[in-house]
Assembly symmetry: C2
Homo-oligomer: 279 residues x 2
């Protein structure tokens, strides 16, 4: 199994590392970042929190901007941040920032030309965790969180796999992608015009009929430019109410869609996950 | 006085803002960032901590990557981060990353073509603080810190102006620029071949004969690629020993020259400054 380290930076007594590897699911080379907290230095196996980034992001944004390493070091949790899509020459792309490279939406594409590489659901659900667990001193305890498109991805993963994840959280998630332009554009391209295939990737629809119950925390800025058109937290809340789902959704006055918002509340999210990962 | 806001992001209950303005000292438009902690919302005047960035950086790096807003919000300290040089069409430049735009070295250039714009010492010492104090709810209490080239700048400012600054600190500063290639290249260009003019911008030389005593904290990573050739903390330490200067220098095993190092110890620096700014 090819795995090459491209950088390592000591961070809060632990290590922020970037790797490349050949992905079978995506049929291309991929990059990911991992933060290994100091507890791993003496062989302790720590649980893993997967971070899924938003549109246009890579494996770098969260590690550089969120300030999460400080808290992960204290709590003894590893964080893994994959890239947001397959990439490279020969990988299908689009001129828009919201489709193609940088915009994988964490789905398994069924439509040409996307289906050759865009299998991000399988990648983040199966291939990447297997690689992480085979390579690093981590346990098989997993939680997931993300931002915007990655918030959507995190909620979908947890709602569809309640036995796999201890907890899920999101900042400004695309809460009902079948009913917003970002989601409709991406889902039509990746999954086809038949909307029947979209429901498996919509957190609001999944939460409405959810049986398992992975605890979910959401933070949403009220000054977020995408709030009304794209994010629709109210639909997520309505779904949770209908099914009695354990959703805690905080609206934060004055905060926008940026990493400054994420950094301001990432400590709450890490403590939420650490509590569930410890059980 | 021209002053235009270009962005505002709520951060830890305060606000990270970026501005552009016309600089008289630099004879061009300049950008800076300011973090205003939540205490300023009700009119409280807070002290100001100036951050000077390293080579190739802008007004953005520190605000995005250091994670300082969390602590500044707690302590009630504003942080101002200027750009690292004059910029724009018509501003002299060089192909090297270590001279010209992005590499102002916080000196007042005396040599053509640099002297027309490269007056960074005056800008960060006088013009920018006057603008900040005239515009924002801040007191006239000032401290200064920085990284690498900006660590050099911070130490020089404090050593030359002991009555102006309450404290100074640096991550991985260029500690003795007259004796390393970065400093020699920049000083020869900006200040001329006569090394007599260089001593006013060398922290080790200034500290050796310092009379006033602004407390100084330095953190230096031991895995820093630039440690031996460019940074020379041992010269700074020898100077402090000679003059009895209040320098506290920490060597940190395994840490490099990156913002991951800065983020790991920025809390120590903010608490150090807050203590001195409160007196």
């Amino acid at each position: 199994m090819s795995l090459e380290i491209t950088s390592v930076n000591k961070s809060f007594c632990g290590w922020t590392k970037h790797y490349t590897h050949r992905s079978t699911a995506l049929n291309c080379d991929m990059r990911f970042a991992i933060y290994l907290p100091p507890q791993t230095a003496n062989g302790q196996k720590v649980p893993v929190l997967y971070w899924l980034s938003g549109l246009t992001c890579t494996d770098e944004n969260f590690m550089q901007k969120a300030g999460a390493q400080r808290i992960a070091a204290e709590l003894g949790v590893a964080i893994v941040a994959p890239d947001t899509s397959p990439r490279g020459v020969g990988v299908a792309d689009d001129d828009g920032y919201d489709l193609g490279q940088g915009a994988g939406f964490y789905v398994n594409a069924t439509q040409a030309p996307w289906n050759r590489h865009y299998q991000m659901y399988d990648y983040v659900m199966n291939e990447l965790p297997q690689l992480i667990e085979a390579t690093f001193p981590v346990s098989d305890k997993r939680s997931v969180f993300g931002h915007s498109m990655g918030g959507h991805g995190a909620l979908v993963l947890a709602l569809r796999n309640p036995d796999t994840f201890q907890s899920a959280s999101a900042f400004s998630p695309i809460g009902n992608p079948v009913d917003c332009s970002w989601g409709q554009k991406a889902f039509a391209a990746y999954l086809g015009k038949d909307k029947g295939a979209w429901a498996d990737y919509d957190a609001s629809l999944l939460m409405r009929k959810a049986k398992g119950a992975v605890p979910v925390l959401v933070d949403q800025g009220e000054a977020d430019d995408f709030l009304e058109e794209q994010l629709k937290p109210e639909t997520l809340e309505a779904s949770a109410k209908e099914s009695g789902y354990p959703l805690k959704l905080n609206r934060r006055e004055g905060y926008d869609h940026s990493y400054y918002f994420i950094a301001s509340f990432v400590e709450d999210h890490l403590r939420f996950h650490a509590k569930h990962l410890a059980t």
